[in-house]
């Protein structure tokens, strides 16, 4: 089947199988920044914003996301112009192997959009769908807190 997806503000025409997940469609159309981890909705490496909501793209059938607005980590920033959350992850030493980082940053972005001053508990709850195989959670939580403070202009 065919469908159009609006990925990071760009319309993408895609052909895909009826039982294919959004994760597969995104990756097969060049969006390899969306990582494939567990493929079971447990690890959060594949999260994207789908019409503004954080979702596991491996748990979304692409056929249900046609014409939807999709935001991947690529829309936030890059090596030369990092998003404040990405900068905070670097500054806080929150990146180890880096595999979970796109998902962590997007989950943090989703949180800070809703809540500009999250508590540590709120940060931990917002990241409850993202696993770090390096177990570097303390630095990750510190990075999100740092990013929120910087985005409020307090650091």
């Amino acid at each position: 089947m065919k469908g159009a997806f609006n990925v990071n503000g760009v319309s993408v025409e895609a052909s895909f199988h009826a039982d294919e997940t959004l994760l597969n469609v995104l990756r097969s159309h060049g969006h390899t920044e969306v990582k494939e981890g567990c493929d079971e909705g447990q690890c959060g490496a594949c999260v994207v914003l789908l019409d503004g909501k954080l979702v596991n793209s491996c748990q979304v059938l692409a056929a249900t996301a046609r014409d939807a607005e999709i935001v991947t980590i690529r829309a936030l920033g890059n090596l030369h112009e990092p998003h404040p959350i990405q900068r905070a992850f670097v500054d806080a030493g929150a990146v180890q192997c880096g595999f979970c980082t796109p998902g962590m940053v997007l989950a943090a972005y989703s949180l800070i959009r809703r809540n500009s001053d999250p508590s540590e508990m709120e940060i931990r709850e917002a990241l409850d769908g993202n696993l770090c195989r390096c177990t570097g959670y303390v630095k990750i939580v510190e990075a999100v807190d740092l990013a929120a403070r910087r985005m409020r202009g307090h650091a």
Binding site: G41, G44, L54, V55, A63, A107, G129
Partner: protein, 271 residues
């Protein structure tokens, strides 16, 4: 084998006609469908064009559309009443990105053994609104127990009375991201210094759910000060099939411990 076919209807009537066909099922956007075998399904009916994502309260009756996600339902219900058992249960289910997809209707229809939804729904005496072969409002417990009621039926909504319960919800997991081995729902309505009504229900056990009738009877109508949580918890009789890493006896013991803690919390007893 022919490729899976998708349908995008605009009305409930169209959905009802489509799901009457062999191998065609509704899909509200949740994640349960990916845990099944998609190869056995001939057609999927996308419900996103139907106005089934809503929540509203009229008088003390709350109604949630079938495509309302756990995240939206938890936020709405928590805003109405922080003690709402459904807000507690749905807010702790799965994970943030999954709660943004799992729907009330889909989770009711599938009732997975790890469901965080069904215990509170049954304990609250919720009703399910069906369209199709059996149209109308039915107690959720009937929908769960009667296979014939489910056949050819589309869940369009759920409703329950927002009574003044204080509540205790527990999900037994080894890690936060685990599916619960069982869930425990306790509801207590107090009047003055006594318990006017008590409801207790476990899921994940044999029979999928079990009402803890002896606990309910032991507590309903008694003075708060006379409650002995440990003694009452002994009456919690729940059977389990053996689960990975957990024997039935161990699970039964865990239920008893949590019933005791829940009662103590609800009657304001320090442990």
């Amino acid at each position: 084998m022919a490729e899976l076919q998708w349908f995008y209807p605009d009305t409930v009537e169209e959905v009802v006609e489509l799901i009457s066909r062999e191998g065609v099922i509704p899909h509200g956007g949740g994640t349960g469908i990916l845990r099944g075998n998609l190869k056995k399904i001939r057609g999927l009916v996308d419900l996103s064009r139907l106005p089934l994502q809503y929540h509203r309260k009229r008088g003390d009756m709350v109604k949630l559309g079938a495509c309302t996600t756990f995240a939206d339902a938890a936020a709405y219900l928590g805003g109405l009443d922080r003690e709402c058992i459904l807000a507690k249960a749905l807010g702790s289910a799965a994970s943030t990105p999954l709660r943004n997809r799992i729907t009330m209707g889909g989770s009711t229809a599938l009732f997975p053994v790890w469901s965080d939804l069904m215990g509170p729904l049954i304990a609250l005496g919720a009703e399910v609104e069906l369209a199709g072969t059996n149209s109308g409002l039915f107690p959720v417990v009937r929908y769960v127990d009667e296979k014939e009621l489910r056949r050819g039926a589309l869940i369009t909504g759920l409703r329950f009375r927002m009574d003044s319960w204080t509540s205790f919800y527990y999900r037994e997991t080894r890690t936060f991201s685990d599916h619960p081995a069982f869930t425990l729902t306790l509801l207590c309505r107090k009047e003055g210094g006594r318990i006017a009504e008590f409801r207790a229900l476990a899921t994940g056990c044999t029979g999928r759910y079990r009402r803890l009738a002896q606990v309910e009877e032991a507590l309903s109508g008694v003075e708060l000060e006379s409650v002995d949580p440990k003694e009452v918890a002994r009456a919690a009789d729940v059977g389990f099939a053996a689960k990975k890493f957990m024997s039935p006896d161990y699970l039964k013991h865990l239920v008893s411990v949590q019933v005791e803690r829940g009662i103590a919390e609800l009657v304001g007893r320090q442990q």
